[in-house]
Amino acid sequence: MLFNSYPFIFLFLPVVLLGYFALGRRGNLAPVIWLALASLAFYSFSNWQFVALLVGSVAFNYGIGYLLIARKLRPPLRFVVLTAGVAGDLVVLGIFKYAGFLAANFNALFSTGITLHILLPVGISFYTFTQIAFLVDAYRGNVARYALPHYALFVTYFPHLIAGPILHHKDMIPQFERAETKRPDAHLILCGLIIFAIGLFKKTCLADGIQPLVSLAFGPNAPTFDQAWIGALAYTFQLYFDFSGYSDMAIGISLMFGIFLPLNFNSPYKARNIIDFWRRWHMTLSQFLRDYLYIPLGGNRHGRILRYVNLMITMLLGGLWHGAAWTFVAWGALHGAYLCINHAWNNYGPDVAPRFVRLADIAALILTFLSVVVAWVFFRADSIDTALYVLSKMADPTHIAFGKGEMAYALFVAIYAMVAWFASNTQEIMGYDHANRTVAEKLRGLRLRPLFLYATAAVLAFGILGIQQHSEFIYFRF
């Protein structure tokens, strides 16, 4: 089921909200169970064949977590249990996500004829990573014992389940345990609706609107220089508004239940370097990779050379996490290289003279953006060859079409760029403060300015009117 669908907006969400608050009058546990069951139902609408896998994964990890938290095991045994837990998760992830990729490469190398057709369970990357973090924290002694319904809800919670953000148990489970979240709060519901509306608008009106232009670069016809750039930039903004829209919708939906989800997106194209970009793009994945991969690898504690090696490993695996294809590996490698260059520049590069700071900032923003665009070409292309082909067209100004169509398309792209660079983002507009569990505090208890209220109502209306039958989120594939 998609957030940007009529059944979700007009049927599923209202029913689940009503049930949740109705049960909230009876106690603290029933709404949690209701929400966990609703989440499984949400998942089963489009992935019924993998519900058992999801439930099995929850049971397995809860069991491993129980051994690590509640049983007083000796340290070596604790390590064995953790290893078994993480290995179990990675084996399942590996089979479903990477077995086909490995077989294809094996076939290419040894001319064998192994054929594997394994469907990818939607959201497996997200719920696997979520639970690996839980197990590692349990091993480190950073987890209190949680009741099974709360744990199950933490993993399956439908606003995040199939496309993130990657949740952290310490952030979420205490919220599920609070009695206040079971009572309807008109302020939170309104703010959640407004945030959802902005996200829906981004998805249905902006991301879906520019999607057709992507085929200029990645379609069947050979693109000219301008078409290749328009197509690559169109994808750059399609992905931006698609992902940003999804993240907003997830936060908005969750807020209606009184639960604050972490931010996952903070105007990444405003970043002035790649380090900053990764603090703004898919923020929860960046945090996961930092805390559970880069730092355990050694981080920056063993000298600069090893730091660069660790960065490359982290980003290569981060790329592979997005999909089992060499294009994603290339994308991760590019970002790894960008990060190494960025850190090297910070260490060895010259300081900018004060009078050139503004100019340097603009140049840094443009350079960062262009680097990201080049990497997105690999992310979008169906093969390395296709990516190199598109990039070669982007570097060949001898063939330019620039007809009426291209001019109009370039104008579209420019408008999208203006929105991405100059408009306030949703959390700024709404004053969403995840850490302090507050949103739009200035508006609480006050009459909203009519213009703001009606403008956001129009945004919701446009978002609903823009719903198309076939418009999945790009991140569903990961």
Binding site: D185, L190, R447, A458, L465
Partner: protein, 369 residues
């Protein structure tokens, strides 16, 4: 009621009001003319045939329907009317499958036309999934069920077109909106039915339809790297099943309608490419043609015209933009051939024309560059 609750109610109420206003705009303007022929506002049309056809079927007067793929896309209804003495409606859809064509024809036949002219070839029967599984085919618009009508009225994209059509109808705004009417800003850019998907008068016909382009296309498709595409989807039994369901099923359920079916005049290079690069595919094409010709010969309401053997067209490579798509001049020739009935397949010898085509294909030699 608390202030927050009042705000929530106002917000939901305002959202609902905006949505209903958009639906009302679509209802009044009715860009597709799905609910009524254009009266309040000048009619505008979209080149997206799969969507536009649903409205054309409801809003136009016609006694003859033309169906086909991109090979019949550039026909003008006025030319059809003149050549055949009919009042036609073109429902051609580029790249359409037999299932799509049959579905649209069935909807059009509910308006009781007397005649169907159907550009039919083996290609449409290769892969013909159900229309509801096709992403870009709005099947419910044709069914005119609640889902289709609601989807139409509550569509933001349609509301944008309605607003444009409304703006275009206001004299002070007309010049500006007309200038923006290029299909990019405004998806309903055509003001005459006759111009839907017809080539514009300033189109460089000679620049696209010439021997150089068709020969280059031949080289491309016969290249060993790409020749696999020639065989894509050609599975004899599946094609026959699709033919029985989509063509024969429709024809036999409308015995009072006259079907003029024609096999389009591909360039000879199309068959020669199969002969040289994918002979198994050519055999399937021949076998399928034999089956279809014999089967259609048994339908008393069908007249089959096999234009693939019209040497004066198919052997003149200057008529083509690639190996199959012919120029608008050949469209007119096709109409005159249909009117004269010169290449009607003899019911008593339905395989004779196929035999002549086979001989032509066998005899043709490609000149090496």
């Amino acid at each position: 009621m608390s202030v927050a609750l009042k705000n929530l109610v106002r917000f939901l109420g305002a959202s609902a009001a905006f949505v209903l206003m958009a639906a009302a705009l679509n209802f009044v303007v009715d860009p597709l003319q799905l609910l009524r022929p254009a009266r309040l506002f000048p009619a505008m049309y979209s080149p997206d045939s799969r969507m536009q056809n649903a409205g054309l079927i409801r809003s136009q007067d016609f006694d003859t329907v033309l169906m086909g793929t991109s090979l019949a896309l550039h026909f003008r209804q006025s030319d059809i009317d003149k050549a055949l003495g009919v009042r036609s409606l073109k429902l051609v859809m580029s790249g359409s499958t037999s299932k799509e064509q049959s579905f649209v024809l069935a909807a059009a036949l509910e308006r009781h036309p007397k005649r169907v002219i159907w550009q039919m070839d083996d290609w449409i029967f290769r892969d013909a999934p159900d229309v509801d599984s096709e992403s870009y085919f709005p099947a419910d618009l044709y069914r005119r069920n609640a889902k289709g009508i609601a989807g139409y009225l509550f569509s933001g994209a349609m509301a944008r077109e309605s607003a444009w059509i409304l703006a275009r109808s206001l004299p002070p705004l007309r010049p500006v909106v007309t200038r923006l009417t290029n299909g990019v800003m405004f998806k309903f850019p055509i003001s005459e039915v006759d111009d839907i998907n017809a080539l514009r008068s300033d189109y460089d016909v000679a620049g696209f339809y010439n021997a150089k382009n068709s020969e280059a296309s031949f080289q491309r498709i016969s290249d060993p790297v790409r020749s696999n595409y020639l065989a894509e989807g050609y599975v004899y039994h599946a094609m026959v099943a699709n033919f029985e369901r989509d063509a024969i099923g429709l024809i036999e359920s409308h015995p009072d309608v006259k079907f003029d079916i024609y096999f389009p005049p591909y360039s000879i290079l199309q068959f020669v490419a199969m002969r040289d690069a994918s002979p198994a595919t050519l055999k399937i094409v021949y076998d399928f043609t034999a089956y279809a010709s014999q089967r259609l010969a048994r339908c008393s309401n069908v007249r089959l015209h096999d234009l693939r053997e019209v040497k004066e067209i198919t052997h003149d490579l200057g008529n083509y933009g690639d190996v199959i798509h012919h120029s608008p001049a050949i469209d007119l020739k096709v109409l005159s051939l249909l009117a004269r009935g010169q290449y009607v397949v003899d019911r008593t010898a339905p395989l004779a024309s196929l035999q002549r085509l086979k001989e032509q294909v066998e005899a043709y030699r490609v000149e090496k560059p």
